[in-house]
């Protein structure tokens, strides 16, 4: 009965009609209101990974008509963190970002991120429990979970089987202890007229602080206790670990005192070092480049095996509308299904973050062809969270300088680590005192 009435005395049907038309017209807008999310991601390993991420994001967007994730490539880990910090300080935070795991306390100190327990509570507990436990250690603070593991790695030992055979070592048996490592390295080092033409072992520089953490773990120590806010850089375990490095570089001269993270995989491929400490992230590169047979092993142990995990985690940011945070969770949850973790692992060479990822046929076929990829996963049972603290970039600089000073013979291990401990106690005083 809402026909247009010509009578000016009864205007309400007209009003009603206008309102109705308005509602009908507005309906689709309400239904399809699009939540747009900005997602910062770094690329840490070689290969067309930016394209892989974009494909995954496109698929997510196609499956979720009311969410649109915009993936923004942000360089390596360091530029990514700089972009995140600038954006947060500029009041324009991203919704989601993958950031290097040791930056977690810095993000906390900036009050930039939100805890994810509320979202985890909505999920079946099997989701949380399926991740390798070592990966959660860099997500915990104040009894809450703040980050979801995504692209994760550990350091391992690579060895050149041909070089082993050449000096009479069993090519299929890597060193298992520090003593064996030193002994093998001595055999494998080749010299021509005082010049080393092949090092026995190379402990890659650049991220040697990360490798060093593994050695300290193998010796039963810990560099930074994040929960209890204490530093143990000059603990007897750490000093002994550094003494072992100095023994390799200075006394035995079977390892180079300096190297860079980017050049040592190339040195290994060129046969300039017979054993190499590096990330699992280079495995795909080595397989593509090496013309000789090589193996992947746990980092040799002392009191036990040990390694610190590495890589990047997902974070959701503060000061954005709740609906965007909710949508961000939907995206993270989708990116971390066991199946997608398997896909991502195959594409990138990272460890699949979830245990059940290894049951997928695709993944099983893959590791059957390349069993080396399982070494890093199996090492996880001896792995720990990576050291972290606020302003961790500065901590790394101080620690790396101490390590370099000792391996170059400029200081004794004790002097170098005492110095680093003192310096960081000063710089992190506020945090150490609980503020």
């Amino acid at each position: 009965m809402w026909r247009l009435s010509p009578s000016p005395t009864r205007p309400w049907p007209v009003v009603l009609l206008v309102v109705l038309i308005g509602l009908v017209a507005a309906q689709p807008v309400f239904a399809q209101q699009l939540v747009r999310l900005t997602f910062y991601y770094p690329v840490g390993v070689s290969g067309p990974l930016a394209r892989v991420i974009n494909e995954m994001v496109d698929q997510f967007n196609a499956e979720h008509p009311n969410i649109e994730v915009v993936a923004v490539y942000t360089g390596d880990y360091d530029p990514t963190m700089q972009k995140v910090q600038t954006a947060v300080m500029g009041g324009n935070p991203p919704d989601i970002a993958v950031v290097e795991i040791s930056e977690f306390p810095t993000l906390l100190a900036m009050d930039a991120i939100i805890p994810l327990d509320e979202y985890l509570a909505q999920e079946d507990p099997s989701y949380f429990n399926d991740f390798f436990p070592a990966f959660w250690e860099n997500s915990r603070y104040d009894g809450k979970i703040w980050a979801i593991p995504f692209q994760r790695s550990t350091p391992v030992l690579y060895w050149n089987k041909e070089a082993f055979a050449e000096v009479g070592l069993d090519p299929d048996r890597p060193p298992r202890t520090w003593d064996e490592l030193a002994e093998y390295a001595a055999l494998l080092t080749k010299r021509e007229g005082g010049q080393v033409t092949r090092w026995g072992v190379t402990i890659s520089g650049g991220w040697n602080d990360w490798l060093f953490e593994g050695f300290v773990r193998q010796n039963g120590g810990k560099l930074i206790d994040f929960e209890n806010r204490s530093l143990h850089l000059n603990s007897p375990e750490a000093v002994e670990a550094l003494e072992f490095w100095v023994k390799l570089t200075q006394q035995m001269q079977v390892a180079p005192p300096h190297s860079t993270w980017a050049s040592t995989p190339a040195d290994f491929v060129a046969g300039k070092t017979a054993m190499l400490y590096h990330s699992t992230g280079i495995l795909t590169f080595l397989k593509d480049s090496a013309t000789f047979d090589f193996g992947v092993a746990f980092m040799p142990g002392k009191k036990s095996y040990g390694a610190a995990v590495g890589g990047g985690n997902f974070f959701i940011f503060k000061n954005i509308p709740k609906e965007r945070q909710d949508a961000a969770w939907t995206f993270i949850r989708w990116m971390t299904t066991a199946e997608r973790a398997a896909q991502w692992s195959i594409a990138s060479g990272y460890i699949a973050t979830r245990q059940s990822s290894y049951e997928y046929p695709q993944m099983q076929a893959y590791v059957a062809r390349h069993p080396e990829y399982l070494v890093a996963r199996d090492q996880l049972q001896y792995a720990y969270g990576k050291a972290m603290s606020p302003a961790f970039q500065r901590v790394r600089e101080v620690l790396k300088r101490a390590l370099d000073d000792a391996t170059a013979g400029r200081m004794t291990p004790r002097q170098a680590l005492d110095g680093a401990q003192r310096q960081l106690e000063m710089q992190l005083r506020q945090w150490l005192q609980g503020n």
Partner: protein, 286 residues
């Protein structure tokens, strides 16, 4: 003064060997300079397994032009290239206007507080780039220019360095020129345009080269203020080849590097005579 026994250089000159020697040395220097570029070119055509050999290998066993296609597939280099050209020239054009005007004022006009103001310009030169990233970001955000090409240009439109260089260049031009120009009825902007700028051409060209190279290579600022591939620049594309955790894929990285640096190389090869000439013609003719 004439020595009785000829010096070695005189001997060489007599034998006509002087020029030969100079050319030999120059050829060696040129070889050393070109070597990294040639090796990059060679690596960009290799297969991955050929990159690292105990003895460097100059000629790839087979030329893999596919590396270039693979590199191009990693990022939209065509768009990045156009953006880079726009940003670099956009910065330079405005810089030249602001810097010549400011340089002229600081060099030729005396007014209250001019030295204080010039001091402030010098301070701008001394501030490290990282110190101003957040303030600049806030400005760009307030102007609503995030994720645009203008955002990449704007902070560099006024350059303390360029102002300083041009001020010095203008000051070196004798006062007589200005007096003569004034007598002929040429003053102010006309004097700047017809006398000072032509005489300062070497400085302007030198600064332009520095500016182009600096902003062609700038990475952090474009990365921070842009999000979408439509407006981003070449260095961001190149960064996709360098990886912190795994090391680089060298043939692709080198193919990308050649693609990114080639335009500058070609530009220089074409115009090198002009560049050099402009430096040679510097100086005041009595």
């Amino acid at each position: 003064m004439r020595s009785r026994t000829p010096t070695p250089s005189q001997l060489l000159q007599r034998l006509g060997l002087n020029k030969l020697l100079i050319h030999l040395i120059l050829m060696m220097v040129a070889g050393v300079t070109a070597m990294p570029y040639l090796f990059a070119l060679s690596t960009s055509l290799k297969h991955r397994t050929e990159v690292f050999t105990p003895v460097p290998q100059w000629i790839p066993s087979s030329l893999r032009f596919a590396n270039y296609a693979d590199a191009m597939a990693i990022a939209p280099f065509g768009t990045y290239f156009i953006n880079t050209v726009i940003v670099v020239l956009g910065i330079l054009a405005v810089q030249l206007v602001t810097a010549t005007l400011a340089g002229y004022v600081f060099a030729r006009l005396r007014f209250r507080g001019s030295s204080l103001l010039f001091g402030l310009f010098l301070i701008q030169m001394m501030l490290p780039v990282h110190a101003v990233i957040v303030p600049n970001y806030l400005t760009i955000k307030e102007l609503g220019l995030l994720d645009t090409r203008v955002a990449m240009m704007m902070p560099f439109w006024a350059s303390g360095y360029a102002t300083f260089l041009l001020r010095q260049a203008f000051r070196q031009i004798p006062q007589d020129f200005e007096d003569a120009a004034l007598i002929d009825g040429c003053s102010g902007p006309r004097f700047l345009w017809s006398v000072l700028i032509p005489l300062a051409k070497p400085t302007i060209i030198a600064f332009s080269l520095i500016s182009i190279v600096t902003h062609w290579n700038d990475f952090l600022w474009p990365l921070i203020v842009t999000d979408s591939p439509q407006v981003r620049t070449l260095t961001i594309g190149l960064a996709m080849f360098v990886q912190q955790e795994s090391g680089a894929d060298w043939p692709l990285l080198m193919a990308g590097t050649i693609l990114v640096t080639a335009p500058l190389m070609v530009l220089f090869l074409i115009y090198q005579r002009k560049f050099v000439e402009s430096f040679m013609h510097a100086g005041v003719k009595g």
